[in-house]
Assembly symmetry: C2
Homo-oligomer: 351 residues x 2
């Protein structure tokens, strides 16, 4: 089905974006339900089938992209969509018919019959919330006209879980904060995040571990705010975090410049030399290299290459990249191969 | 005094030598005492002064080289001679006048007033005991004619400590045995070594830790054997160890080829990328690279370069190399610099 892994890597992530070294990516999703179709808990198979058909027709009439019936995908393909943030763990677990649509540009994906009937999601590199939000609302509006959303004058859009009531909007930014981790300020900041109505998660959403110094910050509340306000709030908060991160990096450079440079260049040395490497170690090494690029210490690798390595080296994606089911050690070997060739033509010993 | 570190690196270690990947170096020393001069425990300052003068004259008449009065050397210079195995810890601790002579070729050194009046020592790369022994005995014979050795018909040459009685000969080989360490066979072998009348030490002699998988094997007994027998015995034993080491490497290649290759190339990646590195880590990384050369996995670095890095990166030598007294962190920085430039023009990412 996925003849080419490239297809999973949104061109959006390869564009030149603002603050792209600290803000890895930005995501927006809105939750919507269709009037007249039973919600999650009361839904029967025939309701789900009807929903998938309705959404499919509405999308095909209005947009270009791929519409994937998730029940027909192989486990590896689903794993790969998960790793690429194009579907959620919740939709994979569902027993009723589900589907996902991916727009031609790869930056919009729509899950059908996740917790809500529709989860319209936009992905962008860098700090780009307003732009990606307007693309998401393009889809949201047309689908609303075609399908009719469940709406209540007091609460706004009705969602399956009350935490999504109102705007149904969740905006999130994936931040790379090695400086704040190193100076131990991150704990304090995460607490303030929570107090400001924001949630912090790892790379793979709720309950996922923090890896590679990557923090996903998103709004917790969807009710009682306008969409613009929410986006402005999270944008401001992100800019404040960027400021704090840059200050933390200055502190480290003053206090422990050599130790930091050593860590960065050793990470590059290991990544370009390893013959066996697992995906978590890759995240951790990429974090050091990303920081090295941010500090201007590494000049011959770009962030786009790092983003691509980060995505392709995930356990599912690396198998898709080589077009084979691979055992764990084989994955570790191929992953190391892929990275070495991706970063070849460089000489990390030069300075 | 040591205007050029090169002077400390014996040209012997740069020659093409037999088995030079597993046998790093070979050393022979003979202990001799001069008839008519009090031995260590009864020696006075004026005896020591007389001894140093006698030996100096005898050497200057017969051989080319440097004669160094150890009391006049700076601590860093003594440290550097120690690291280069040209003097011993015991001679540095002595309060009476002491000296050392280093031959023009750098492969013969003679300590004056160590535990014995004379310790004539020869150093060679690879497994080369008979050759280096004949050079040592050239010096031993002429100095004996000039100075007259203390000798007893029943015991042979009289030494300060009875363990050196008889031949006064100690032969040692510095072996690189990562395979036997990896397969855990080394413990068993070290026990048999002891039973065969051999001693095992680390890189820096008696009581020194094993570092970088380097084992110094030497004979424990000097009495009751002829010189040739001792040399033959240790040569045979070394050849057996080489055989066992090669077999252990085959076992690892069969069992864990990828893990081994990964370790070797990561070590190379770290060594060519680090910005801070201590001398013990260098020994451990060099061990992996040395093994990589031995297995034919690394083809663009030679053993001679590794031997030079091993010597120059010791804490004293690195300061001498840069001609400055350096604090610990500065040493770690300069050491990393030196290695990176020494191994430059290589691309460890290539394969």
């Amino acid at each position: 089905m996925f003849e080419n892994i490239k297809w999973l890597i949104s061109p959006e992530l390869s564009r030149e974006c603002e603050e792209k070294e600290i803000v890895v990516s930005t995501r927006i999703r809105v939750a919507r339900n269709i009037e007249g179709i039973p919600f999650e808990l009361k839904m029967k198979t025939k309701d789900a089938e009807k929903l998938v058909q309705m959404v499919k027709s509405a999308l095909e009439m209005n947009f270009k992209g791929k519409f994937l019936d998730l029940q027909k995908l192989k486990p590896l393909e689903k794993e790969s969509l998960l790793e690429s943030h194009l579907i959620s763990p919740a939709i994979v677990k569902k027993e009723l018919p589900t589907a996902t649509f991916i727009s031609e540009e790869g930056n919009i994906s729509i899950m059908v019959n996740e917790e809500d009937h529709l989860r319209i999601q936009g992905l962008s590199c860098g700090l780009n919330l307003s732009n990606i939000a307007s693309k998401v609302y393009e889809f949201e509006e047309i689908l609303g006209q075609e399908l009719g959303y469940a709406y209540n004058e007091n609460y706004g859009f009705i969602t399956s879980c009350p935490t999504n009531l109102g705007t149904g909007l969740r905006a999130s930014v994936l931040l790379h904060l090695p400086g704040l981790v190193y100076t131990n300020e991150i704990e304090k900041i995460l607490k303030s995040t929570f107090n400001l109505g924001m949630a912090v998660r790892g790379l793979y959403g709720e309950g996922s571990e923090i890896k590679g110094n990557l923090f996903q910050i998103s709004n917790q509340h969807t009710l009682g705010f306008k969409e613009d306000e929410l986006i402005e709030k999270i944008t401001k908060f992100t800019k404040m975090l960027i400021d704090l991160e840059l200050k933390a990096r200055d502190v480290i450079l003053n206090r422990a410049r050599y130790e930091l440079e050593d860590k960065i260049f050793r990470s590059l040395g290991i990544l370009t030399s390893a013959r066996l490497i697992n995906s978590d170690e890759v995240l951790s090494l990429l974090s050091a290299i990303r920081l090295g690029i941010g500090l201007g210490l590494i000049k011959d690798i770009d962030i786009i290459t790092l983003n691509e390595i980060m995505l392709v080296t995930r356990p599912g994606n690396i198998q898709l990249y080589y077009g084979e089911i691979l055992e764990e050690q084989e994955r570790d070997i191929r992953r190391a191969d892929y990275i070495r060739h991706k970063l070849a033509k460089r000489n990390p010993a030069s300075d």
